[in-house]
């Protein structure tokens, strides 16, 4: 009869793991203790500051300003409506496609529900709950009506121009015009980022195709544009857009400041995007072109049906990386006097009752930027996985 021997107690379980990984030898034990001490000191100081020293009333009082800027109070329902549309579509997509979008939808819905527990006004709470419900309803609809796939995809594309029109208004009594000078806060940061991403993408693809084109004029124009823009810092372009552009325009004509910033960001981003896309184009083996030609496809068809889809798939990680950078780069517009999320924050610090509270504002801003950048990078990782980038 054989006796079963238990492994020694100190080699299994938590203690075993600790011994194996943190305290195997005097040197590692010392390192562990020192690092534990450092982590503890830093965490203690940070938590003490967050919960004891910091005065978060500056955020609470100015929350609306930080989120939507000076958007008129009686028109604020438009911002909520826009958000609800996004929620509904997110919910629908969750039901239709599951996967990544589902996780994002759950995170979004959970944030709405958690936020609705905070002591906001009744109106805000209602809208938060409406948004959470919209996600749920969307999910159910998408789940049981797969026929909605095409309309949903189309709605995502039409959503952005629609939101712009909704926010800006039509000049009717229902939707009076709200000038971009009143747009601000996180809302403006998003709009700047989305405009720049959406418009720089096709422009960048065209520039990349132009740079690899066989037509000399197109090629040199593309190269000239890309190298010119890449040779200049973004802040210079923003200053040029704000300072020089008005001087070139005809007397008495002034372009909207926010529009100028959007144009600057788009043109800047397009040049970088073009180079990223070009790297994707160059990764396509020669055989692909030749095979397409052998099948008798025209140049146009070769580019748009064979080359571009493969090239873009290959550069997804770089593109998303650039979009994340662009999202954060929008904060530079606060230097040229546009009240985006960071710009509003800097202006709040000038309120007499909150003088010297910039730490709270900056940390809050950092947290918000982190949440959204992380969500983007998470979505990109999942997208890569589902498309099998780097696996085949």
């Amino acid at each position: 009869m054989e006796t079963k021997m238990e492994p020694p107690k100190n080699t299994i379980g938590i203690i075993g793991w600790l011994r194996k990984n943190l305290f195997n030898g005097w040197f590692n034990s010392l390192l562990t203790i020192i690092f534990l001490w450092i982590v503890f000191t830093v965490l203690y100081a940070a938590l003490k500051w967050v919960f004891v020293t910091a005065d978060w009333t500056v955020i609470v009082v100015n929350l609306r300003l930080l989120l939507v800027g000076q958007y008129p109070q009686d028109q604020i329902f438009r911002v909520w409506l826009a958000l609800t549309l996004v929620s509904t579509l997110t919910g629908l997509s969750w039901g239709l496609w599951k996967g990544t979008i589902g996780n994002l939808a759950i995170a979004l819905g959970a944030s709405f529900l958690i936020l609705s527990l905070f002591p906001f006004s009744g109106e805000v709470k209602t809208w938060l709950l409406v948004n959470a419900t919209a996600i749920g309803l969307g999910y159910v609809l998408g789940r049981y009506f797969p026929i909605l796939r095409k309309p949903t995809a189309a709605s995502w594309i039409l959503l952005f121009p629609f939101i712009i029109v909704l926010l800006r208004g039509l000049g009717t009594s229902w939707l009076p015009i709200v000038g971009t000078n009143l747009w601000g806060g996180l809302m403006l940061t998003f709009l700047l980022a989305i405009v720049a991403i959406v418009f720089s993408f096709p422009l960048g693809v065209l520039l990349a195709l132009g740079r690899t084109s066989k037509l000399p004029l197109v090629r040199y124009l593309s190269i000239g544009y890309i190298e010119l823009i890449r040779g200049v810092p973004l802040i210079t372009i923003l200053f040029m857009a704000q300072l020089m552009l008005p001087l070139f325009l005809p007397e008495g004509v002034t372009l909207d400041r926010v529009l100028r910033a959007m144009a600057g960001l788009t043109l800047f981003s397009a040049a970088y995007l073009a180079e990223n896309v070009r790297s994707g184009l160059q990764s396509i083996p020669r055989g692909q072109y030749e095979a397409a030609q052998a099948l008798g496809l025209s140049n146009f068809k070769t580019t748009f049906l064979i080359v571009l889809p493969q090239a873009l798939r290959a550069v997804i990680p770089i593109l998303v990386g650039q979009f994340i950078a662009l999202f954060k780069d929008t904060s530079l517009v606060s230097i040229v006097g546009i009240l985006d999320f960071l710009g509003i924050g800097r202006s709040i610090v000038a309120q007499p009752e909150f003088l010297g509270r910039q730490r709270e504002i900056l940390i809050f801003a950092a947290a918000i930027y982190f949440v959204f950048s992380y969500a983007m990078s998470y979505a990109s990782r999942r997208l890569e996985k589902s498309l099998g980038v780097g696996e085949r």
């Binding site: 008495g252 006097g337 202006s347």
Partner: protein, 356 residues
């Protein structure tokens, strides 16, 4: 695969379409924000047609211009923008404030993006002459000062030999500091920062020995330091900083309107007329009051405004002293002395030419 590529083409097309749609949007923009053609129409006409005046302000300067939690602008400079709106439209809210940075503020005036700039801008000869700008009367006389810790043993600028001095980059402050210290033959180490918040943070953390900015700025920041009494402002003033409104050159009527709007607030204080008691002066027999308040004469119509424009200003924002006290005076955290900004009758520099 084919289907996916097909989708991509559609996507690209749609994006281009939205591009085009937004292009239409942007062509409408100029007609809306057109600020007028100075050769054919006067600024006043343009402003009146538009229905509101566009004022360039600072959105980040404590006491002078900042955003309230409800999204409206407040501050000493901002209040003069409201005064101008009241003078033209009898409505202090007929104004749109445009936040401008220190770098793009003057271009905004030159290109007509704003009708007037009220953003703590120092009046200098080069700005006045070579940039095509006109400076309205100074609303705030400032000067550059230096803050040190009381226990540092520094009592004058000469004591700052070898000190690390914090200063905001890209301002006249930085140039003044260098000029002044060279004159005194004091060797110091300038530490430049992008904004004032960073300067103050570095000073509080002890990484610089002193810091310099306009005296009003020093006073307002001193109130926010952990122990305001542990710091002091050195007695020397390093520069003159007359801050006031700026308009574009070439429209004298508009320049006059801005000028006399400011003067009206100063004159009202000198005459003892306030927001509260103005009605009691309306029936005065004194010709000085009658002319100033537009009861007789045509001082307002000569400007292109209504005769009672002064009444509208005072009723909306009060006289100069009231505006000063509201944003900078003893009841605020800044607690600034009137000093140079007191009336000439009290030893200050605020002086309005006669309203006659």
């Amino acid at each position: 695969m084919r289907k996916k590529a097909y989708l991509l083409v559609i996507l690209l097309l749609l994006v281009t379409m939205t591009l085009a749609a937004c292009g239409q949007d942007s062509t409408q923009e100029p007609t809306q924000t057109t600020t007028g053609n100075q050769s054919s129409r006067s600024t006043l006409e343009v402003v009146k047609n538009r229905g509101y005046v566009i004022v360039g302000v600072n959105s980040k300067l404590p006491g002078f211009g900042y955003l309230e939690p409800d999204g409206s602008y407040s501050g000493f400079d901002v209040e003069f923008g409201r005064a101008l709106a009241a003078a033209i439209f009898n409505d202090p809210n007929a104004v749109e404030f445009r936040p401008l940075s220190a770098k793009d503020r003057l271009t905004a005036v030159q290109t007509g993006e704003v009708d007037v700039l009220m953003r703590n801008t120092t009046w200098t000869i080069s700005r006045d002459t070579s940039l095509g700008l006109n400076f309205a009367p100074t609303t705030f006389y400032d000067g550059q000062g230096m803050m040190v810790r009381k226990d540092s043993g520094i009592n004058s600028l000469e004591d700052l030999d070898g000190a690390r001095i914090g200063v905001q980059t890209g301002t006249t402050t930085e140039l003044n500091l260098t000029d002044h210290m060279r004159k005194l033959n004091v060797d110091f180490e300038p530490i430049v920062f992008e904004d004032l918040d960073s300067v103050v943070a570095a000073y509080e953390a002890g990484s610089i020995d002193a810091w310099t900015t306009d005296i009003s700025g020093l006073a307002s920041r001193q109130a926010t330091l952990a122990d305001p009494n542990a710091h002091k402002v050195l007695p020397e003033v390093m520069s003159k900083e007359p801050l006031g409104p700026v308009v574009r050159e070439g429209d004298d009527q508009w320049y006059d309107i801005v000028k006399w709007t400011i003067f009206a607030t100063i004159e009202a204080e000198e005459l003892g007329i306030t927001q509260g008691n103005i009605d009691s002066f309306m029936n005065s027999d004194d010709p000085v009051f009658r002319r100033f308040l537009g009861v007789e004469g045509d001082l307002g119509t000569n400007l292109g405004l209504s005769n009672d424009f002064t009444v509208n200003i005072i009723k909306s924002v009060g006289n100069y002293g009231e505006i000063f006290d509201r944003y900078l005076g003893p009841d605020t955290v800044f607690n600034l002395e009137r000093g140079l900004n007191d009336l000439w009758t009290n030893g200050g520099l605020m002086y309005a030419p006669p309203f006659r």
